[in-house]
Subunit: 601 residues, 2 copies
């Protein structure tokens, strides 16, 4: 593993300019070695990205060239503003699917309108990302829990693969949900074009073989691992080349095989996003979801790759980098982009050292857009569909269902709901419901906190649950360890719990609430504690607190509660134990004396 | 204070019938003494409730008699299904205001349509309460934090008092917000009727004096406290009687003074709520908010009063009791009702022992509806407005703003937003935004947990924050106490925190995460812990856990994490300290020896 050659990323104390433009940091140390590494990585990523860009544009329901355009200026923008050294930005599967869903809902038929809508979506999504970045709101992405993301990505992979079956069969089947697409595939199956099907199945089988079997074979015949890797990554290019030549040679377009057709040659066009308020209000929610999903996907890749070289990424600056990429896509005929998982890993493995590798990749795609597009005329759509299917099936990981089931039913509920709703009601419904459900379940769980009655582990100063450990307790004293921060949602739960516990045991004199796990006492909970104190006082029982944390204690001192508290506040539960033990001995002393008197009689 | 004479309320193990109908429990022990107490309380509450019912109906924008109807059958229904011994159900100020807001939005002008809408609102609200009760979802009300409730009640009190100014001035001024009403009051002030204003101001001044000055005066002249209390409560009735006689004697109706006018005499009518889906969809949100606000207000009163006699209420059964009351209101010409604060306290102080007091109150109101309504013809609306203003100003408590500011800025933000939005945008906006904001702020707070670096308090086995206490630490070991449950919203925060801390100190060999306050580790947090473990491993640092709670440990055991963990899991931080201390001594021993060799040379 390479050790970091480059200086650490700028800290917030550095000037604004270098903070917002990391290129000014790494650019200064750029040398010939770094250049070589970056160029090699760029060549490999370019070869991989050309067919992917075309394919994802078709997945998004857009002309193929928009995929190429989305892979040029956005990469330069990320190279200037991004903080990850290895992230490869461009059109990705999930965001393309979300773009298709957002634009499909609008019922547009004119290709020019569709292209403008896609560009506007990229523009809005870029704007949202930049605003979140400048306001340092990157933490919002944390509310997308890992299980929800995993469920969403898996379900999206299934939806994407299903959406490509129409190209493999050469029939029509539109829709945003599994059911809609399934019904249409079933109804139109008699229209299947056998040549298209042969190309589609052939390409799929070939690509699966390339992915699983080619590299071991190449290694066996004596190729170096690095070269074998590169050749295996070139599989989609080979499939594209071979099927294009077949379609040209046998004039398959006339035999009903869908081809990519004319792709304009030249520089990406300059485009302006629409400023229509009606369009903006329609696209706002999709743009927000695309921004957040794109950011989460991208940051998780970037973090993983950065950690491997002990580098760090700056999430809030990543928002700005991705935002700039999307704005760049919007003004050069592209559509929403983000950092892709597979291509970033390829970029990293191929030795990319700086974001300049992305800029070189962009040059490669630019050359392709200017020179190679006429060659794409005869490219069968079924081939592109095959590349998508093979790529996205690696995203599908249904084991998240069983893993989350084993670990926590609440996490499982979030995953299952996300998967089910994404497949059944589309991507937007799936991810929104997943987020809301995770938050609701978390709140529900914290609204019924775990409360343990604890005793002293003999020979230590440590207190544990009386039902899990062999512990000592003091007569007339009950110690309750509250295992949750106290806030409005569980304030009255604690009140009810303590009062129920107390009414079960008429001999109680002291209740100790042990607060090592109470990280917060909000105003609702403070009022509940005051109520508990008052009601116990009415019953002749004292209320004590122990192990109250510093921040909580600071806050309690600002209220009247500590003045009204009938008992003490102890630094540790051991102190509370000693104090109450001594008081009990003193209180019992006369009683013991009396009993001795009785025994003596 | 009286000790409880009655048996405890039914536990869930008792039969379904007695659980859902508490009357079957307390009814069996009903005797003559209890009857006397209940009847006395009922007489006092009836005297208080007659003018209140009329006034609140007008506040809700409904004919005065609907207030009386809402105070008859609902009280019987609560007597059968409710669990509080002292709660007095009927029309209340805040719910009347919410009813006015809900119905005002619909733009109805036909009084019959308005009455049907009000009945339907009561029916839906009752249905929602019953469903929540049967499904035992009473805990949902906990998500309304105390500061939000306090802010909402205060702002509602201000809105209600302002809404009554139009009756005091005898002018028109409609609106749901402070601004709307203020503008209209200002624009129409030249239309003020001087006689109306004289009656309104006179009644207001009289009622304030009754409230503050009458009881001390009566006590001075030698009346018994109880009688003085009852006479002071009869103030509104006196104001009603005197101003009605004045209006009759001087024929004030012809002089532009608004009078209540004809109020139908007789039994409450049987009414059917509308079943129109359009109406239901319009009223659903208001009905939900009315149910929850009504329930929260009612339960807090009921809990306070029950605690004074060491009784308990059953919140889920209270939902059913209040739901039945609202359904009863819907079918007998009433509108939404709930347990009122002031009248319940009066009922309690007057000695009510069982819900039968409510039934007797209902009989009193029924008699009033059948016999006294002709007398109300000449009652000036300004008098009713004065009774409302004096009653609701006791709800207004702006000190909640300063108290919450002193205690917690986050609680303050919830209060301030609720007050501001209720005054500025109406009750529905205010309370909804208050709830959402409290939840959002809570999530935000827990998404950035407090993490303390701790050391040993010398001479104890107790560990505290190194910045707050004089503590010992071990070289090469950092112990971080995580003061929050770990879940998706803060999982990556912890990851970043630990890695930042570790990179600051190159001599570290061991990191201990101390989990006494970690009540949950969800799947997102588990993955973050795995990432922390892996990255520390890459840096040659071991990760240990200590004081992991039982439920959290159970869950971790179901994952692979504990197998991959590079360090140990210790029952207590003291155990971790001892183990790491010993390892450090063993590791250092040769180093010390070497240094001694060097010194010897």
């Amino acid at each position: 593993m390479n050790l970091p050659k480059l200086p650490p990323l700028p800290k917030p104390s550095l000037s604004m300019v270098t903070r917002y433009m990391p290129i000014l940091q790494w650019g200064r140390q750029y040398d010939r070695d770094t250049l070589t590494s970056d160029v090699v990585a760029a060549v490999i990523v370019t070869i991989m990205l050309i067919p992917q860009s075309l394919a994802y544009a078709l997945l998004a329901g857009l002309p193929a060239q928009m995929g190429l355009y989305a892979s040029i200026l956005p990469l330069f923008a990320y190279a200037v503003f991004g903080t990850s050294r290895a992230l490869a930005v461009g059109p990705v599967a999930v965001v393309s699917l979300m773009t298709a869903a957002a634009i499909g809902k609008m019922g547009l038929s004119n290709p020019a309108d569709i292209a403008i809508a896609a560009g506007t979506l990229a523009f809005m999504s870029g704007g949202i990302l930049v605003v979140l970045g400048v306001l340092r709101l990157g933490f919002l992405a944390n509310f997308l829990s890992h299980p929800v993301i995993a469920g969403f990505i898996t379900a999206s992979g299934i939806l994407i693969a299903t959406s490509q079956l129409k190209h493999i069969f050469g029939i029509k089947a539109e829709g945003d949900t599994l059911l809609e697409m399934g019904v249409q595939l079933f109804e139109n199956q008699h229209l299947t074009n056998p040549i298209t099907l042969a190309i589609g199945l052939g390409a799929t089988a070939f690509l699966f073989w390339v992915r699983k079997g080619l590299k071991p074979l190449l290694l066996q015949v004596g190729l170096k691992p690095r070269l074998a890797d590169i050749l295996a990554k070139a599989g989609p290019v080979a499939a594209v080349a071979v099927t294009t030549i077949l379609a040209f040679a046998f004039n398959l377009g006339d035999k009903g095989v869908s081809l990519v057709g004319e792709v304009p040659m030249g520089l990406p066009p300059l485009t302006a996003p629409s400023l229509s308020p009606a369009l903006w209000s329609q696209l706002f929610m999709p743009a927000l979801l695309i921004s957040i999903i794109g950011f989460v996907e991208s940051v998780s890749v970037a973090k993983t790759l950065a950690a491997k070289k002990r580098q760090r990424i700056v999430p809030d600056q990543e928002l700005i980098g991705l935002g700039a990429s999307n704005v760049a896509a919007a003004v050069t005929g592209g559509y929403p982009v983000t950092g892709g998982f597979a291509r970033s890993v390829v970029n990293f493995d191929a030795g990319a050292e700086t974001p300049a590798a992305g800029a070189f990749t962009a040059l490669g795609i630019l050359l392709a857009a200017m020179l190679l597009t006429p060659l794409l005329y005869f490219l069968p759509k079924a081939t592109l569909a095959a590349t998508i299917i093979v790529a996205v099936l690696s995203l599908v990981d249904l084991s998240i269902l069983s893993r989350s089931w084993a670990y926590s039913k609440i996490d499982f509920a979030s995953v299952a709901a996300t998967v089910f709703l994404t497949l059944g009601f589309g991507v937007e419904m799936g991810v929104s419901a997943g987020v809301l459900l995770s938050i609701a379940l978390h709140l529900y769980k914290t609204s019924r906190p775990h409360v343990a009655e604890v005793g002293l582990v003999p020979g230590t100063q440590h207190f544990r649950n009386i039902h899990r450990h062999a512990v000592d307790t003091l007569p007339g004293v009950v110690t309750l360890r509250v295992d949750e921060s106290l806030y409005f949602a569980n304030a009255s739960f604690l009140e009810d719990y303590v009062l129920n516990r107390v009414t079960r045991d008429k001999t109680l004199r002291d209740v100790v609430l042990m607060f090592p796990a109470v990280n917060e006492v909000d105003m609702s909970a403070l009022e509940s504690l005051e109520a508990v104190n008052q009601r116990l006082k009415d019953m002749g029982i004292r209320l004590h607190l122990s192990e109250v944390k510093g921040p909580v204690m600071d806050r309690l001192k600002r209220s009247h509660f500590l003045h009204e508290l009938t008992g003490g506040v102890y630094l540790s539960q051991w102190d509370a134990w000693c104090a109450l033990h001594q008081q009990a001995s003193e209180a019992d002393a006369p009683a013991v004396a009396e009993r001795e008197d009785l025994a003596a009689q």
